[in-house]
Symmetry: C2
Subunit: 250 residues, 2 copies
DNA sequence: TTTTTATTGTGTTATTTTTACACGATTGCT
DNA sequence: AGCAATCGTGTAAAAATAACACAATAAAAA
């Protein structure tokens, strides 16, 4: 019985004698692998794209930085695990989070085979000033990161690349800014993420024509020059129109 | 010792007393999960986008169709597992294959928790005529599929969606066509995948301007009307120029 | 109080890209 | 010989993008 089921599972080219009755037994015969989630948490500060890293607690990676991760609990959906990690580390819920990719090189973890599923998260740095307790946590400028623990540099690079694409088809950037922001801040953000210079007038035209900025009527009050108007992102309007919207093109 | 390591792993917010010396022991403490790969194998025939499915061998899904999948072996990279599945089922190597996404709903498999990593594959149906032995394998028209085993309908829909996007930024479509093809065939393919009607003259203009079609000088000889020229995809030229190329836009 | 510095807000024009659209030529079929 | 189907081709209008400059404002420095 049991062996028959296994045969059907492992050599599926051969037509099985009959159908498998016990899905449980089938699954029980599968190899099992430890799974982790790793969050690539991006923030934006001082006109630079940052990523939140923690010092590795593995001796072998002493002094190196790593992504925020944890193993997935039994029966925990991976999205939930990623939200959990995010919440445990930053105290924030309700943040942008999306699955990016699964990494599976057999030797990516020095302790043996571990799969990891990378998640990309964007959060507003203002709402997450690091406390004293977090002395092993640090915001790093993405462009300056040279080396990391595990294959985390590869994961970070992949996620950054993913973000560059994703932001062109989905207005994620607003998650990185304070609730009210000037168009300069918005443009700086796009320039930092895409690593390009954009024309100010065309940038404004583009965003106004997309028509999901709300003019608050307020102005910046913390800049040493003529203050700009402050805007909010119109989530409602975006949700209504997102079917029609196919993306930004610079 | 051991308990200390576990504490560091499970409650990382607390600064660990010291570094973890044994990565192996750490990994040994992680929960383990069965992993499968599922291949969404697209083909193109009679102007329709098809997907290769197999009858489920689980009693509970009697008569339902499922994606081609298998569990990932110990220490097998997932990409390799996907290629293996593809090769076992179709006998083909050297085909287009790319990871799409990991699906992890706790109840997606009736036998207990199983993660699956979806891969998208494109292959030329001409080179894979189904043999008699494959009576449990069948090409299905993507648009007509209503219901599948497991969460495979969801995976298929996601992968189809993924393909629609991906084909706009990467000329994958050529993998679905014979080596030599007419522009009509190429256009039919794009129309089928994107589910749109395109203007014939503009379509030609677009592709010629991209400049990676080789004119073979030959003509179709199996059509009941004026034959069209046959072209080949210039992989070499595409590889050279792909940095500059940012995608198709219709 | 004046000047300097930095940045805001605003339109137009040239260029490129996209779209819409039609007809004579060629082949196989009857 | 005539019909049915598709091939191959170009142009003009419309839309999107790119390039570009200057007066107005606020704070900071002189």
């Amino acid at each position: 019985m049991m062996s028959n089921e296994n045969a059907a599972a492992t050599t599926p080219r051969t037509k099985p004698a009959g159908l498998i009755k016990s899905a449980e037994k089938l699954v029980a015969s599968y190899p099992r692998v430890p799974i982790t989630v790793d969050c690539v948490i991006f923030g934006f500060d001082e006109n630079e794209l940052k990523v939140l890293l923690i010092r590795s607690d593995l001796e072998i990676f002493r002094g190196k930085w790593s992504l925020l991760g944890d193993f997935a609990d039994d029966n925990e959906e991976l999205d939930d695990a990623a939200y959990r990690v995010l919440c445990e580390r930053t105290g924030m819920t309700d943040v942008y989070l999306e699955q990016v990719r699964t990494f599976s090189k057999p030797n990516r973890h020095p302790g043996g085979r571990v799969l990891t599923v990378a998640y990309c998260s964007l959060l507003n740095i203002e709402q997450h000033k690091l406390g004293k307790m977090d002395n092993e946590l640090h915001w790093h400028t993405v462009k300056n990161i040279k080396e990391m623990a595990f294959d985390h540099k590869e994961i970070m690079d992949y996620s950054y690349n993913w973000l560059q694409k994703r932001i062109m088809e989905h207005p994620l950037g607003f998650n990185l800014l304070p609730e009210k922001f000037s168009l300069r801040e918005l443009q700086n953000l796009y320039e930092a993420i895409l690593d390009v210079k954009l024309d100010r007038r065309n940038f404004r035209k583009k965003f106004f024509s997309m028509d999901f900025l709300i003019d608050t009527g307020e102005y910046e009050d913390d800049v040493p020059h003529r203050p700009g108007r402050l805007y909010q992102f119109n989530f409602e309007k975006y949700e209504q129109n997102k079917r029609r919207w196919t993306g930004i093109d610079f």
